[in-house]
Amino acid sequence: MRYRGPRDVLEVDLTTRVVRRYALEDEVFAQTLGGVGLAVWLLERHLEQYGPLAPLSPQSPLVFAAGPFAATPVPAANKHALATISPLTGLLNEGLSSSHWSVALRRCGLAALIVTGIAREWSTLVVDDGEVRIEPAGELIGASPRETTKRLRERLGDRTLRICAIGIAGERGVRFASVENDGRQAGRGGSGAVMGSKRLKAIALRGRGEVAVADPGRVAALSAVLRERAMGPATAKYRVLGTGANLRVLQRMGQLPTRNFTGAVFEGAERVTPEAARESRATFVELRAGCAGCPVQCEHMYVRRGRDRRAAAASEYESVWAFGPNCGVDDLDAVLDAIALCDDYGLDTITTGATIAFAMEAAERGLLGDEGLGTPLRFGNADVLRPAIEAIVAGEGLGALLREGVRAAAARLGPEAESFAMHAKGLELPGYEPRTLPTYALSLAVCTRGACHNRAASYDVDFRRPDAPLSDEERVRAAIEIENDAILWDSLVLCKFVRGCFVDFAEEAAALWSAVSGLELDGETLKRRANAIWRAKRRINAALGWRPADDVLPPRLFEPLRDGPHAGRRLDAAELERLRTVYERERGFVVPHPLAPR
């Protein structure tokens, strides 16, 4: 049977305004699945043609690839991947976003959309079913993604247009700018800066095509089972509490990175946890949101009662952690405002918070002054969050230093600053304490994207069995299995919040894939596909200059934790090196000559 579902790729060169549309063969879908797998495959073909590219160079591509279950009855699956060369890391950056835009991409008949070149003026790309237009976007400059969406819908006379856009941060080339659609973000790694470098403010989609599946009856039956499970206990914490509930748990575990990872227990945690807002209904209003077609509706947004509800901010754990504990700030209003400001400007909340935390420590050490922010640049000063974010976007004063992320800022401040620059390969660490999580530490070090908690999710092993005496081989195999599972989730693309809804993920996911696509695969084959996609990611990074010696973690993690129940614990450099050696042996990846034929 042939692959069912949209198979076209639309390539748009903004420099030449040449548009090309072509269909992919069945074999591409059979090998890459879709989502991240397809985006990585397309990016690799692009690099084979153009050679290694600087992230913000004209030929550096934005590759959007739809999840193969988007616009089908499969729940929690209206998602797409966005792959770029990261201006933060210089390496592959494959992120995800979701909701209506993902659906519209497939309803335009597209499996993927590739944008290259640089427009002569600020532009909007409009894909109107089969028609493609590049329209001026000058009047949208300075607008937030939300405002851009509103104005574009008004201008084009269609309230149902699906739009992804960058904010001011992307326009101005902040290297951790995000791309937003439907209130969701492809946040990490600076894809918004790549989009901004092309003078592309937004991409508007109007897709009215039907998306076929191979076996509608089987898809309906499998989707019904998944939907029922997704309304059960496995997702209760996301539905009822949201990921912000992680904060109390990590605090209790003594694994809540605090003040730029100088500690692992935050004395103000209870004042800043989103659960406290939830429990204070007299003080905060809770609003709920979620992706199209998802029964979980995981987004829990809060705003202080009496304020405009449009100021409500998402309370995702990573965002709250980044501006709260990691900056030593215990003022939930200030944290929520910082998150909302990042969403308005189109900034990645994790890197923005981590970068400010880095600057706070630099200032406390005397490496920086207050940099004209009007308030002390110190841990715990909630008042400094807003001016620091505004400085980053303005690119002035402190912002000129911070707008390229922690790695670049530390390089400018010197060796002392590099000792507390919390990043891996240029991507700032998320909110888990690696010193207490040895499997996760390995995964962070080797992750192709840098310090990404969604790709390097092996903290799960460490949390479940914190004192388990695993051998190096067991730890490495767990890390690889979780990495490969993440690739399947990201290629199929299913939301990881339904991870607990599968009994045998590979087999059940293969059944879904087969019913939707018409290309029969079993679970074992699916796992082999994940491994092949991982190898493609590594090949791209190798072509972009990555070498195994780059897979290192920040020096601070090899110093003992100062506080909490795990005080004294640190990463053992020899152990990590041993694990990396076993990892490389198990993976069996040999760094190819850059751009050598595969």
């Binding site: 496995a234 509930a245 992680n246 109390r248 748990v249 575990m253 388990a468 939301c495």
Partner: protein, 89 residues
């Protein structure tokens, strides 16, 4: 025995910690069974209906950092916590 609660367990019971009537020292199985009897609202969401295990992603850790063995005896000085495995997305 006093138990600290987090996530859905705390949400369902409405308290950050509870006292469970149970002979101590106890095993994990005994504690889960006692919890299920005292707080039936946990059944199906935090504790399996068979009352012998926790529903994913809930876990019981001692002092928030150590997983007790199946037959290990512990009491409230070990500070049992009913938590969940943190995860992001």
């Amino acid at each position: 025995m006093q138990i600290e609660l987090f996530g859905m367990a705390r949400e369902l019971i409405g308290e950050p910690r509870i006292d469970v009537e149970i002979e101590t020292p106890a095993t994990v199985d005994k504690l889960i069974d006692a919890l299920a009897r005292s707080y039936p609202q946990l059944l199906g969401i935090v504790i399996d209906h068979d009352r012998s295990s926790l529903v994913e992603p809930n876990v019981l850790l001692l002092d928030g950092r150590r997983s007790p063995g199946r037959d290990e005896l512990f009491d409230e000085r070990d500070r049992p916590c009913l938590l969940f495995v943190p995860s992001g997305g």
